[in-house]
Symmetry: C2
Subunit: 244 residues, 2 copies
Amino acid sequence: MASSLERRTGISLWRQIADQILHSIAVGDFAENAALPPEVALAERYGVNRHTVRSAIAALVQDGVLRAEQGRGTFVLSRKRLSYPIGARTRFSEGLQGQASERRSVLLESAVEPASRRVAEGLGLAKGSSVIRLETRGEADGQPVSRATGWFDAARFTGIDAAMAETGSVTASLERFGIGDYLRQSTVLSARHADAADLADLDLQPGAIVLVTVAVNVTPDGQPIQFAETRFPAERVELKLSPL
Amino acid sequence: MASSLERRTGISLWRQIADQILHSIAVGDFAENAALPPEVALAERYGVNRHTVRSAIAALVQDGVLRAEQGRGTFVLSRKRLSYPIGARTRFSEGLQGQASERRSVLLESAVEPASRRVAEGLGLAKGSSVIRLETRGEADGQPVSRATGWFDAARFTGIDAAMAETGSVTASLERFGIGDYLRQSTVLSARHADAADLADLDLQPGAIVLVTVAVNVTPDGQPIQFAETRFPAERVELKLSPL
DNA sequence: TATAATTGTCTACATCATTATACAAATTTG
DNA sequence: CAAATTTGTATAATGATGTAGACAATTATA
């Protein structure tokens, strides 16, 4: 029951406790709007000082997960995650229909650059070929839910950055280049701690986790058109794999 | 280039640096058997004192990721992540063929219990129906790479725990119940910090991240037979989504 | 209205993390 | 062999984290 804490690991006790409380909420041990056990009880359960528990709670209050009220207690706020579908026909805006009323994709930056080995392999080009890089952020109800870096063959998709800026949609932009349909060829999934850039772009707190997908989109006849790496904040998004 | 570090986050600088070095190795910035940049250079790159870098390196040496030699340098040991395929026909041992010479699944615990709401919905049973729970750990070359909790209808699969203990394989166990083939119906993916149980079972350090899949396996005619939650250590495993 | 329960604030101190220097020990290089 | 490079060790100072105890402020309860 009392999930134990580890010392001297580079992770402070208050952060370990905050993570465990987050997990308890996700698993349903603490329901939405319910009161957390009092600080003294939590301190005893975890075998630490009350102030250490308070540090953990303070961090979660800062994150908007908990609300503390003097004299009453500490309460759980809503924390339901979006479910983002991934399958052969993954599209950003369609995927979140019904889960968020307002959703959009914002172009943060674009550039033309030589392809790295990884990008060149993904797109089936020679290393160093000219590619267009698009940096975008997906938002649902005003909150960032994804952060993507996408690469396109610059020779074939000249001006896709302008189209992206105008339409705010990869699907719509590709249509201008005569691509009415595209499929996801491969997806590799991993997870890591958010780096400084992720924290800023996705509005996360240090220590947050991001889910990372690396994917190749192809035309129906198998020609690679986009290589993309997308970061999702794990606390706000889960990925639902659709059986095609 | 210099991925910046965050202070006052409850995660010590040396652990953040250790995580980034691990990531650099996984991404291929530091090849296997190659020398890391000297401690002084790393300290400058991260904007910290040399001793802080040394703490990070010491932790990775302890984990068997690096080897330090006085007067020569610090070297990368083998540390490639396993790529675990996920698709319609996900099988543990088959999936890792060619990536690890020795792989097996160990039954840690089994029990008969009433189905929770979540499990009942997944298996298409009434809540509270009797189900068999199997706790297993997947290992590749002696190192834990997965930790699964699986549920089966107790009425239909009486004795599957014994079969699992004997064969060490879900596929082989299901064959004894006349199920020669099964498909993955749905998979939901998320990520979180490992809890105390994960840390112990998967031999991880606090602060480690686990990828979590929640899946339902069905017979070819669509009858649910298994509901499972599997945790993968993100530092050792990536998931490769196979287009059906 | 008094009492209990709970969160908020304060002070003092111990331990861990980080910085700053200096030098030793082992290895490679010229 | 001498010099340069690199990891290993030691010491001291400072800031962040964790412990301990006391009391204030707010809310619920008898």
